[in-house]
Amino acid sequence: MVEIRWHSRAGQGAVTGAKGLGSVVATTGKQVQAYALYGSAKRGAAMNAYNRIDDEPITNQETKMFPDFVFVIDPALAFSDDITKNDKPDTQYIITTHLSKEDLISQIPALQDKADRVHVVDCMQISLDTIGRAMPNTPILGAFMKVSKMYDLDFFLENMKKVLSKFPQKIIDANMEAITRAYNEVK
């Protein structure tokens, strides 16, 4: 079982991102869950989304998880959210930030003994450059493919295209570029 917790703001596409990842993973015969904790949340409010991935049908309907991966897709939430909540000795962190990894970690005490498990990538800048607005949900998945080695980049891109097929070609292309850049730039 692989468990992922997203830290996001409502409106940044974490639910869409979690469902997109789930859709790609499900095409490979695996079982997935993608869900979020929101409800009356307004745009900009801090929220969590979640993924579970397994070879067997997933019957755990508990909301809380002990994540293998934590995605922080809003730079400020790395400072204000409890991003290390329920973590494990091998939990990997992928954090969107314009800071270097060293600068980021030096400002977040909770990460200081986890430096080897922290990965940084500037999904905000990448999405501004490619998609044209701050939409960090798809690039973080590119970084995740690099860190987790779950799938080859090309395989992931091909399947993600299908997930995004209802969008205009221009938007699909921009997302592919964003995912590729995040894959290459994550440190």
Partner: protein
């Protein structure tokens, strides 16, 4: 002619989308709806299928849930296949008309996304609205996840519209936990799904002008009782039809449903009885506890909440090794033992083993039901079994903050 909707063999859908796809495939003639969280996407989905030509049906916008169910009653009496969706306060506002629909024997399908009832206001899931429908004369079927929300919505039409049943059916799923959680769902092709549901057969339809009928007539003491008894009999007799429909569905898909699901009960010493998405978490916890500590835990889950499967609950609990059973109610009992506790205890009383029965109230307003908490409750049942008596209060609260709350103790010398 409605367009075919292209579906993959496996889709990643949440419970709401799964239910809306089932409504589309059943080719509903009329949906009269008023949106409410968390069930909104079901009727929103149907609206978009109508607008995009995937259903030859009509979406009726109304001013309230009372209006929504009234519209459904009218359209169903006129002779159409009718469905809608609601939750919580919307369900409460529909209640008056729910009794009308069942008394008029209209096979409307209501997809309920279970949510807490105010006050305090809360959008998250518990079973307050499902329990509110208990005596309304509807068949109530409970899905534990998104695949089941799809499968059982298709079954709901077959069951309610069956000529030996002709009763409205509620298809329940848990708010957010199921309605907003995407997972692998294996849908049927449009043509296969529609063939399973079948053509709608109108009975005493008001649009048949060659044979005028009256719906919703007044009876006083001369006939009311006979009508209500007949309606109750129809509900009780629907049990065999539900079993038949589930059997047909298994033949078609390989997916098996029973009026009472039971897991690992063959050799169980203790058991939990519960409803909804928590069933899946409890089954996982029971499997783990069996491996970790060798405690023989079983799970019993009434899939069919109404008609209450007294027969099959008794059968599931009639296990010689069974010593302690905990019934878990996800609805505030309002000054009583939980309803599930009361109904399951009545069934357990007529078993040979007569296990000790305890009650937990849990999960109100969407409070998370954790695997570890399920295991703790299972171990507590084991402690009752080992001691030979109930070692705690009979009614307790799971996951509640603040001072421990409990009521009633076993009378012992």
């Amino acid at each position: 002619m409605a367009k075919e909707f292209e579906l993959n063999e496996v889709e990643v859908w949440d419970g709401n989308y799964a239910a809306s796809q089932a409504l589309r495939q059943a080719q509903i003639d009329v949906v009269a709806a008023y949106p409410i969280t968390p069930s909104t996407p079901i009727v929103e989905g149907y609206g978009s299928y109508v607008a995009n030509g995937y259903v030859d049906g009509e979406f009726v916008m109304v001013e309230s849930e009372h209006g929504a169910m009234s519209g459904c009653v009218g359209a169903s009496a006129a002779g159409g296949r009718v469905a809608t969706a609601t939750s919580s306060q919307g369900f409460a506002l529909m209640t008056e008309v729910l009794y009308q629909a069942s008394g008029m024997r209209l096979p409307i399908v209501l997809t309920v996304v279970n949510r807490a009832l105010a006050s305090p206001l809360n959008v998250r899931g518990d079973h307050s609205d499902m329990y509110l429908g208990r005596d309304s004369g509807w068949i109530q079927i409970d899905a534990f996840d998104a695949q089941e929300a799809y499968d059982l919505a298709l079954c709901a039409f077959r069951i309610g519209e069956h000529l030996d049943v002709r009763l409205p059916v509620m298809m329940h799923q848990d708010g957010f936990t199921t309605s907003h959680k995407a997972q692998n769902v294996y849908p049927l092709k449009d043509s296969v799904a529609y063939k399973f549901v079948g053509e709608y057969v109108p009975v005493d339809d008001m649009l048949d002008f060659s044979r005028p009928v009256t719906h919703g007539a007044q009876t006083e003491e001369d006939w009311h009782f006979e009508h209500k008894a007949k309606q109750h009999k129809a509900l009780m007799d629907s049990r065999t039809v539900i079993d038949e429909v589930f059997a047909d569905f298994k033949k078609l898909t390989g997916r098996e449903y029973k009026r009472v699901e039971s897991y690992m009960m063959e050799d169980a010493e203790v058991a939990l009885v519960l409803l909804g998405s928590s069933v899946e978490t409890a089954v996982l916890a029971a499997k783990q506890l069996r491996e970790e500590e060798g405690i023989k835990v079983g799970i019993v889950a009434p899939r069919c909440f109404r008609p209450f499967p007294y027969d099959l609950v008794r059968e599931a609990l009639d296990v010689p090794s069974l010593k302690a059973v905990c019934c878990m109610d996800k609805s505030a009992p309002g000054g009583a033992m939980g309803a599930l506790f009361n109904e399951v205890s009545a069934a357990a009383y007529s078993t040979e083993a007569r296990p000790m029965m305890t009650n937990y109230v849990y999960g109100l307003g969407g409070r998370d039901f954790a695997v570890d908490e399920a295991k703790r409750i299972m171990k507590e049942q084991k402690a009752h079994a080992d001691a030979g008596h109930i070692t705690t209060d009979i009614q307790q609260f799971s996951g509640l903050r603040g001072p421990k709350l409990g009521f009633f103790q076993t009378r012992r010398d």
